[in-house]
C-alpha cells in the first residue's frame, strides 16, 4: 500500500517535471521568435495593410481623403497608359524568364555533369555577378550598349553590322539587362536539381536504345522539372518587380510597374493610386506563388 502510494507520487512529480520542462521550452521558443515577429509585424505586415487601406482612399487636389472607393483599381486596369505598363511588365517577365531558361539550362547541365576538378571556381564565377551591385552592372550595360560602346565596336569590327545598333532606351537594352541580372537566379536552382539526377539513368535509357536527344527529353528534362519551375517562378517574380534596369536602360517608354509606382508616390504624390498599383503587383505575385505551390502538391501526388 505504502509503496504503491510512493510510486504514484513519484509518477506524478515526474509528469509535473515534464510539464515544467515543456513550459520552459515554450517560453524559450516565445523569446526566440518574439524579436522577429515584432519586426515583421510592425515593419512589414502593418505597413502593407496600411497601403491596402490607402488604396481605397480618395485623392483630390493633391490630398488624400479618407474614403472607400475602388476607383484607383478601376483606373489602373482601364486607364490605357497604366494597363500598358502592367501588361508590358508581365510581358518582360515572360521574355526574360524564357531567355534565362534557354541560356541557363545548358550551362547548369554542364556545371552539374562536368568532371572538371576545380568546380568551385566555375561556381564562384556564377556567384560573383550574383552578388555584385545591380546598379553598377546595369549602368555598365548602358556603357557597353552605347552607340560607341564595346558591343557595337566589336560587332562592326567583326563585320556583322555596318552601322552601330541603337540599343539604349529601347526594349532590346532592357531585355538584355534583365536577362543578365536574373540569369544566376535560374542557373542556381537548375544546377541544384540536375546535380541530384543520377547520370546512369540517362546511360540506362541509351543502353535500352534511346538516342542522346531522346534520353535527355524523356529522362533528364522531366526529372529536372522542380528546378525549372523554381527558377522560372523566381525569375518571373523578380523581373516584374524590377526598377533600376528599365529606369537606366529603357527610359520613359519602357517603364515597368515599379517605376510607375515610384512616380505616383514621389512625383505625382498620388499615394492612393500608387498603393493600389502596389497591391495589384502583390496580388499577381501571391497568385503566382499559390499556383506554384499547387503544381508542387500535384507533383507529389503524381510521384506517389
Amino acid at each position: 500500500m505504502m509503496i504503491d502510494r510512493a510510486e504514484n507520487l513519484a509518477v506524478k512529480s515526474d509528469s509535473k517535471l515534464k510539464g515544467l520542462a515543456r513550459f520552459r521550452e515554450r517560453i524559450k521558443l516565445f523569446l526566440e521568435l518574439t524579436p522577429g515577429l515584432f519586426w515583421l509585424f510592425f515593419f512589414f505586415i502593418i505597413p502593407t495593410l496600411l497601403i491596402l487601406r490607402y488604396s481605397f482612399n480618395q485623392y483630390s487636389g493633391g490630398m488624400m481623403i479618407k474614403a472607400f472607393t475602388l476607383d484607383h483599381y478601376i483606373r489602373a486596369i482601364t486607364g490605357h497608359i497604366y494597363l500598358k505598363v502592367l501588361l508590358k511588365s508581365l510581358w518582360y517577365g515572360v521574355m526574360v524568364t524564357s531567355s534565362c531558361l534557354i541560356i541557363g539550362y545548358p550551362c547548369a547541365y554542364f556545371l552539374a555533369r562536368t568532371k572538371f576538378r576545380r568546380k568551385e571556381i566555375l561556381f564562384l564565377g556564377l556567384i560573383i555577378p550574383f552578388w555584385t551591385s545591380i546598379v553598377i552592372r546595369t549602368y555598365a550595360w548602358k556603357v557597353l550598349l552605347g552607340t560607341n560602346g564595346m558591343v557595337n565596336y566589336f560587332l562592326t569590327q567583326i563585320g556583322i553590322i555596318e552601322d552601330p545598333i541603337r540599343f539604349l532606351y529601347s526594349e532590346k537594352a532592357v531585355f538584355i539587362g534583365l536577362t543578365h541580372v536574373f540569369l544566376p537566379f535560374m542557373i542556381l536552382p537548375l544546377y541544384a536539381t540536375i546535380e541530384k539526377i543520377n547520370p546512369f539513368l540517362e546511360e540506362a535509357a541509351q543502353d535500352l536504345g534511346a538516342n542522346r536527344l531522346k534520353s535527355f527529353l524523356f529522362v533528364t528534362l522531366p526529372l529536372s522539372f522542380p528546378g525549372i519551375s523554381t527558377g522560372c517562378i523566381l525569375v518571373y517574380i523578380l523581373t516584374i518587380g524590377s526598377y533600376i534596369t528599365p529606369d537606366l536602360l529603357g527610359g520613359p517608354t519602357e517603364m515597368m510597374i515599379s517605376n510607375l509606382i515610384q512616380r505616383e508616390y514621389y512625383a505625382a504624390f498620388n499615394w492612393p493610386f500608387g498603393s493600389a498599383l502596389g497591391i495589384l503587383l502583390l496580388i499577381i505575385i501571391l497568385v503566382l506563388l499559390l499556383f506554384y505551390n499547387k503544381i508542387f502538391k500535384l507533383e507529389k501526388i503524381a510521384g506517389g
Binding site: 524559450k28 526566440e32 521568435l33 524579436p35 522577429g36 515577429l37 519586426w39 515583421l40 515593419f43 512589414f44 502593418i46 505597413p47 502593407t48 496600411l50 497601403i51 490607402y54 545548358p106 550551362c107 568551385e120 564562384l124 564565377g125 556567384i127 560573383i128 555577378p129 552578388w131 555584385t132 551591385s133 546598379v135 553598377i136 546595369t138 549602368y139 555598365a140 550595360w141 548602358k142 556603357v143 557597353l144 552605347g146 560607341n148 560602346g149 564595346m150 565596336y153 543578365h180 540569369l183 544566376p184 517574380i237 518587380g241 526598377y243 533600376i244 537606366l248 510597374i257 515599379s258 509606382i261 515610384q262 508616390y265 498603393s275 502596389g278 503587383l281 502583390l282 505575385i285 506563388l289
Partner: protein, 259 residues
C-alpha cells in the same frame, strides 16, 4: 571530345562572358583615359582613381553605407539567429505559416516594401526617411537570408553535445555560450556576410527611404550615371566590386570548408 561536348563548352564560355562583360568593362574603363567611356580604349591612366578619391560626396556615401549596413547586419543577424533556433528546434502549430512569413521579404518586390514603410513612417513615426528607416528596411530584407543560412547549420547540429555539457553540470546559458554558439558560429558569420552584402548593395529601398539628402553608395552611383557618365565612377565602382568579391570569397570559404 564529341561535337556535342564542344558546343556545350562554347555555350558555357559565352554565358560566362555575358555574365562578366559589364564587370570587366567597368574595370577596364576605369584605367582608360577616354572621357566618354567609348571604344577603342584610350591610354592607360590612373587619373580617374585620383579624382574618385578626392570626391567628397563619394567619401560621404561610403561612410553612410558602411554605417547603415553594419547596423542592419547586426539587427538581422541577432533576430535571424534567434528565430532559426526557435524554428529548427521546436514543433508547434503555426510553424509553417510563420516560417513562410519570415522568408517572405525575400520575394516581395522592394518597391512594395519601400512605399509601405514610407507610408507607415509618415503616419506613425512622423519621419519621411533617414538612417533609422533605411536600417529598419535593410534589417527586414536581410533577415530571411540569415534565417536560411543559420537554420541549415542548425539542422546538421548534434544535440547530444549540448546534453553532454548539461550532464556535466553546465547550465543552459553556459551550454549555449561554450557549446552551441561556437558550433553554429560559421553559419552566423556566413549569414551576417550575406545580410551585409544585401544591405550594402541595396538600391531601391534605400532610394525610396533616404529622404532628400542622404546618400549611400548605390544611390550616389545611380545619381551620377543617370544622365552623363563621368569615368571616375568606373574607378569608384571597381573599388566597390573588389569589396564585394572579397566578401563573397570569404563567405564561400566559411560555407564550404575543406570537404
Amino acid at each position: 571530345m564529341s561535337v556535342r561536348e564542344i558546343i556545350l563548352k562554347i555555350w558555357v564560355a559565352l554565358v560566362y562572358i555575358f555574365l562578366f562583360a559589364p564587370i570587366v568593362m567597368v574595370i577596364i574603363m576605369s584605367f582608360s583615359s577616354s572621357k566618354y567611356s567609348t571604344f577603342p580604349l584610350g591610354e592607360f591612366t590612373l587619373k580617374w582613381y585620383k579624382s574618385a578619391v578626392e570626391d567628397q560626396n563619394l567619401f560621404t556615401a561610403v561612410k553612410n553605407s558602411i554605417f547603415i549596413s553594419l547596423t542592419a547586419t547586426a539587427g538581422a543577424t541577432c533576430i535571424g539567429t534567434l528565430a532559426a533556433m526557435g524554428f529548427v528546434r521546436n514543433r508547434f502549430r503555426a510553424k509553417e505559416i510563420l516560417n513562410t512569413l519570415f522568408l517572405s521579404p525575400m520575394i516581395i518586390p522592394e518597391i512594395i516594401i519601400g512605399i509601405a514603410l514610407l507610408s507607415f513612417a509618415t503616419i506613425f513615426l512622423k519621419m519621411q526617411g533617414g538612417f533609422l528607416l533605411i536600417v529598419i528596411g535593410h534589417t527586414l530584407i536581410g533577415l530571411p537570408f540569415v534565417l536560411t543560412v543559420v537554420s541549415s547549420r542548425l539542422h546538421g547540429f548534434d544535440r547530444s553535445l549540448e546534453e553532454a555539457a548539461m550532464d556535466l553540470g553546465a547550465n543552459e546559458m553556459i551550454t549555449f555560450r561554450r557549446i552551441t554558439l561556437p558550433l553554429i558560429m560559421p553559419g552566423i558569420v556566413a549569414g551576417a556576410l550575406l545580410a551585409f552584402t544585401i544591405s550594402f548593395d541595396n538600391f531601391l529601398i534605400t532610394y525610396l527611404l533616404a529622404g532628400p539628402k542622404l546618400m549611400t553608395i548605390p544611390v550616389e552611383i545611380y545619381s551620377m550615371v543617370r544622365f552623363e557618365i563621368n569615368p571616375k565612377i568606373h574607378a569608384f565602382s571597381s573599388f566597390i566590386i573588389m569589396i564585394s568579391v572579397t566578401l563573397i570569397i570569404i563567405h564561400q570559404k566559411i560555407v564550404k570548408p575543406k570537404e
